[in-house]
């Protein structure tokens, strides 16, 4: 109705067919994974591939969660959650504080430090992985949550984002707080932090998924299966020799690995939109 272009019936049908086709392409592998996680091993290895869900859903997921292949999946889920939460919260805390310092304080070499932080944008984990590994190993942090989280916690992107947001907060608000007697940290906690909550929610979603999807780093520093995270753990489930891969369990694990990021997006999206509606003006 409000569209600029008038559509006739045929056009609507064609565009819908196109959209449904696209969605089908994206969703089909996920559907296959769901099917594969509900049948028995023998149904998968003997062609043709089953296209309808089987009756072993509870059995397969129970097996995955409680015993897994090397290690129960619940354990890997716990590890991944701790790592992703640690990275997301750590990144937000550190970047909030450094953006606060850069925007609201005048100290020597302020711009220099800002550009130094900015420069680290060009150095993702993969580039600095050997020296970082060396440091973590020498500190004895292999197979620990600290080792998983700490090297990934500094974030130039988030610092930059909060810097941009803080610069849009009117100076008068900071001055009003100063006249009201708020010391810098009081201003930060009472005023700046509540005003940033929408930004924090949005960043949390992005950073949680970033943390959850870490693959290379956990693969390097966790040798103990007890410390495996789920994203790398799926790969560890494939047998190395001639053993048969336990497909139903692997597929169940893969789907379980997808679940928390989806939940975070769905749950935080509500909060995010609420934040947007609540935002001032």
């Amino acid at each position: 109705m409000a569209g600029m272009v008038e559509r006739n019936g045929a056009g609507t049908i064609i565009s819908h067919v196109g959209l449904i086709f696209g969605i089908a392409i994206v969703c089909f592998p996920i559907y296959l994974a769901i099917v594969a996680s509900t049948v028995e091993q023998k149904d998968i290895v003997s062609p043709p591939l089953p296209l309808l869900p089987g009756g072993h859903f509870i059995e397969n997921y129970k097996k995955a969660l409680l015993s897994g292949v090397n290690i129960p999946v619940w354990r890997m889920l716990v590890n991944s959650t701790i790592m992703a939460m640690g990275i997301a919260i750590g990144k937000i805390v550190i970047s909030l504080l450094s953006a606060f310092a850069i925007v609201y304080f005048r100290f020597p070499l302020r711009t220099f430090f800002f550009w130094m932080i900015f420069l680290t944008l060009m150095l993702p984990v993969e580039v600095r992985i050997v020296p970082t590994f060396e440091v973590i190993a020498n500190f004895g942090m292999l197979n620990s949550y600290t080792g998983l989280i700490l090297p990934l916690i500094a974030s130039a992107t988030a610092t930059f984002l909060f810097r941009q947001f803080f610069m849009t907060v009117p100076d008068e608000i900071a001055e009003a707080a100063r006249v009201d007697g708020a010391k810098p940290m009081r201003f930060f906690f009472d005023i700046l932090l509540p005003m940033s909550r929408t930004n924090i929610a949005a960043l949390f979603v992005i950073l949680f998924i970033y943390g959850w999807n870490q693959y290379l780093w956990p693969l390097l520093i966790t040798t103990d299966p007890e410390m495996n995270t789920i994203v790398m753990g799926i790969k560890q489930m494939f047998p190395s020799g001639d053993d048969l891969a336990d497909w139903p369990v692997i597929m169940a694990t893969a789907l379980l690995a997808m679940l928390p990021p989806v939940l975070v997006v769905v749950f935080m999206q509500n909060l995010f939109i609420k934040g947007l509606v609540d935002a001032e003006k």
């Binding site: 001055e175 009003a176 006249v179 009201d180 005023i191 001032e280």
Partner: protein, 350 residues
Amino acid sequence: MTTISLKDVKKSYGNLRVIHGVSVDIHDSEFIVVVGPSGCGKSTLLRMIAGLEDISEGEVCIDGKVVNHLEPMDRNIAMVFQNYALYPHMSVFDNIAYSLKIAKTSKAEIKQRVQETAELLQLGDYLDRKPRQLSGGQRQRVAMGRAIVRRPSVFLFDEPLSNLDAKLRVQMRLEIKRLQRQLGITSVFVTHDQVEAMTLGDKLMVLNDGRVEQFGTPVELYQKPRSIFVAQFIGSPSMNIVPVSEGHRLPNGAVVDHAVPKPQHTGELSLGIRPEHIDIEPASDVRFLIEMAEQLGANTLIHGVLEGSSAPLVVSLPGLHTLESLDASIGLRFQPENCHWFDTATGDRL
């Protein structure tokens, strides 16, 4: 009981000097208005009193105590900002209460004082609202409440009315004046609006390019402007400044009325006369060519030039007139007691 005194206060940004030594004494419960065109340094001066801006040279004293190096909170001042600067995520109650919370006032006392303040400002029904749910005038009141609730010894206002519409501005102006009278708190108010300045201030400070042009009561400034700048800045419509040459001749050759006292001064002279101090005198030599008439209701502003020259002049006539109801050329009489003489070169009053 609070006095403020500025002693040769200067402000520089690097090599650029924006305040060139301001000295002034403000007495207890006085309402001072700092007025000047934009960029004259009036806000900077206010912010230096507040403690938001460093003082390059000179001293700011509150109650005889030098406060140059005190934080704003330790100066016992309260400030109302141009854009209100309300905390957007806090309710009206929390906005007003914030300074008390920081000062660790007891919950019961905070509640009581916020209630009192809210009643004073007719905000009682809005305490649970967020700033964005308020109208401009209400936000302005919350900003006032935030200042009042602390019982400060000095109020500082930084163009607080400039974001309001004309009607509301007049209303808030009266309210501010009433509150200041009622509370008896020494206040400094910055504005670029000369009407606001005239109506609010016990005394006005006219600032131009970082220098004090004149400091005095509104009537003093109106009746005895010390310079051409003040003469044209104070009063609406602004004063006519007419160059006068040798033999006290106006640009069109007419000689200034004999009744007008003439200064003994060599050099270029300017005659200042307010539009409301010019009368019609059909027999006068001073002829005025009418170009435009603005009807304001109670009076009419007539724009035109002195006949035989291009010197512009504005005349304010009581009652309603139109171009048709007046002759194209009329004779004028400058009220002798209301003529001001200035040195054209320096702009100083003679």
